[in-house]
Symmetry: C2
Subunit: 392 residues, 2 copies
Amino acid sequence: MAATTVIRNIGSLATGDPQLGPGPLGVLRDAALVIDGERVAWVGPTGLAPAADTALDAEGRAALPGFVDSHSHLVFAGDRTEEFNARMSGRPYSAGGIRTTVAATRAASDAELAATLDRHVREALRQGTTTLETKSGYGLTPEEEARALRIAATRLEEVTYLGAHVAAPEYADDVAGYVDLVTGPMLDACAPHARWVDVFCERGAFDGDQARAVLTAGVARGLLPRVHANQLTYGPGVQLAVELGAASADHCTHLTDADVAALAAGSTVATLLPGCEFSTRADYPDARRLLDAGVTVALSTDCNPGSSFTSSMPFCVAVAVREMGMTPDEAVWSATAGGAAALRREDVGRLRPGARADVVLLDAPSHVHLAYRPGVPLVTDVWRRGERVWHR
Amino acid sequence: MAATTVIRNIGSLATGDPQLGPGPLGVLRDAALVIDGERVAWVGPTGLAPAADTALDAEGRAALPGFVDSHSHLVFAGDRTEEFNARMSGRPYSAGGIRTTVAATRAASDAELAATLDRHVREALRQGTTTLETKSGYGLTPEEEARALRIAATRLEEVTYLGAHVAAPEYADDVAGYVDLVTGPMLDACAPHARWVDVFCERGAFDGDQARAVLTAGVARGLLPRVHANQLTYGPGVQLAVELGAASADHCTHLTDADVAALAAGSTVATLLPGCEFSTRADYPDARRLLDAGVTVALSTDCNPGSSFTSSMPFCVAVAVREMGMTPDEAVWSATAGGAAALRREDVGRLRPGARADVVLLDAPSHVHLAYRPGVPLVTDVWRRGERVWHR
């Protein structure tokens, strides 16, 4: 029989289930939560909590679901600190962009890539992220992309094949040829190791027709589609994502009214990545416009060494509230249940009976403090699949 | 004889002293630092480091001076989470502003106020802040202001008398009478417990003549002046600060060319508080304009429960780079040596022989990561006066 744990005296418990408490976050006050093995067994008032093998007093602190970070790029090597420093200092720098990281990643050993990924997974966990998606996309050959996915898949459940990040340097003048590779031999090598297929649909990367070819080829091999869409410019990515039933269109920074209407009518989540706009001094996506149109919005870090090197979901929540017109409740929902929707997961992102026991405790009386206290490391305890994996 | 410690293999050591290394931060690569008792005894290349009683391997991590947070309001009680939540959610809320906190603070016991202050000092320390100024200003009677300062002075070196935060509720219709109190009996009660005198010079608080009266009365009692100036509107605060030789003019959000010229010609530091603009969705001060004019700029949190409830100097660095035109080097300088200048301190904010051994180690190869990795808790180790007070 699995061990049970009861966490009592939770000042504010964001269940993420509107049937359990007020608002979209379903917030319970003076609550308790019972963990049985890997699952949540019970939530309710502390006074009614059943006994358990272990009891923990939250002393009025807030609890919320572990963050679901549905978009990161963490199989990489190399150091781009000086590129960032030059960009923010107004100094010229002959940056190679993604290709800088591609060269370093190809040159790294499996052990180096694994160690860097492990370090970032652990860093994210300390900040409350219990579900983390990551992608290939810095290898750009069949062997290198498959290697990245194998390394990721031994550590994470949510792994995405992004051979179509940019055309490999060897194909700089033959993007069509690179798409043939991505949809042919590279897909053969990668499909067994991934759940998702993704493409960077953007001027300078892959156009709408190329993106469609990448996604449909992946779907034909049993992968589920998601799209880097409408980040730097307006384009066909969002509407293609909706048409193909992609789980998520990520970035969504430049949207026409037709794009918003398509998202509202479809089942595709709009995943917003404010760390990227923060770190590139770009304009933020308009979350309010999407929410008001009825679109499901997720928040994610886009953690990568080029455009957004934050692993902090609390930071993304705070910036989304400051800059993107989200309320604190909406931002926390998008960083938990929203991320789960972007990964088509029902078992994470909410704290209700039957859900995975992925629980975060804050050194604060309410989840609102994630926006109210920007930058402050508030996460004191993290349970993942019922196991307490971080305690400060 | 005091114990000595050598920290070796520091990937990047920001000394803050341009005589020790390149740039205003005086950065040394592959460096070592020797602590002797409470002081820095030596900095230089790891290969030349002398032996010491204890040796620690930084394994390539970055070291920098402990942050000097020269502006906070941490003697308070009460909870304003719902006021913040309503403001960011666009919901009406009959907020009492500072007066809400005044009522709660007056009602709190000494022990409650001390416990809250201790918690925030500890929280700041974990984020690398080794010198922290704090103020009275939520008591607004002679007894309550003196109580706040006594509590602060037993914990912190830098304590500021801010009886002139706003007029006490009892004097809402008699600000002149309140100024008489602040410059008379309240000053008598408070002067023994503070180093600094401060005033909120702003429409709705105290005008230029009232601010001058408060500051000159404080100076006559041996206190050193600093000013809350030009936060919400243009006004006389900055020029008054320069005229009186104040150590710092804090906020500096709305500045005329004459204000900038006065700061450049005087000895007053411009202390910018980006957490405040972040949390109130206000326009940021223009650090670039000040730096280009030759003004000394400090960064600080303004940590308080109303307008800026962050205690995170790393967060302020990141926002200053994103929003205020500072380079990462400038922002880190302003958060360390700049804060020291704003407190007229020579012994903190730099890591050179003779300075206090207030040292921060980062889980990163460079101080640039404070801006490059926003929101990520990078501080792994903190020494204060030579004692290792935090280790993750």
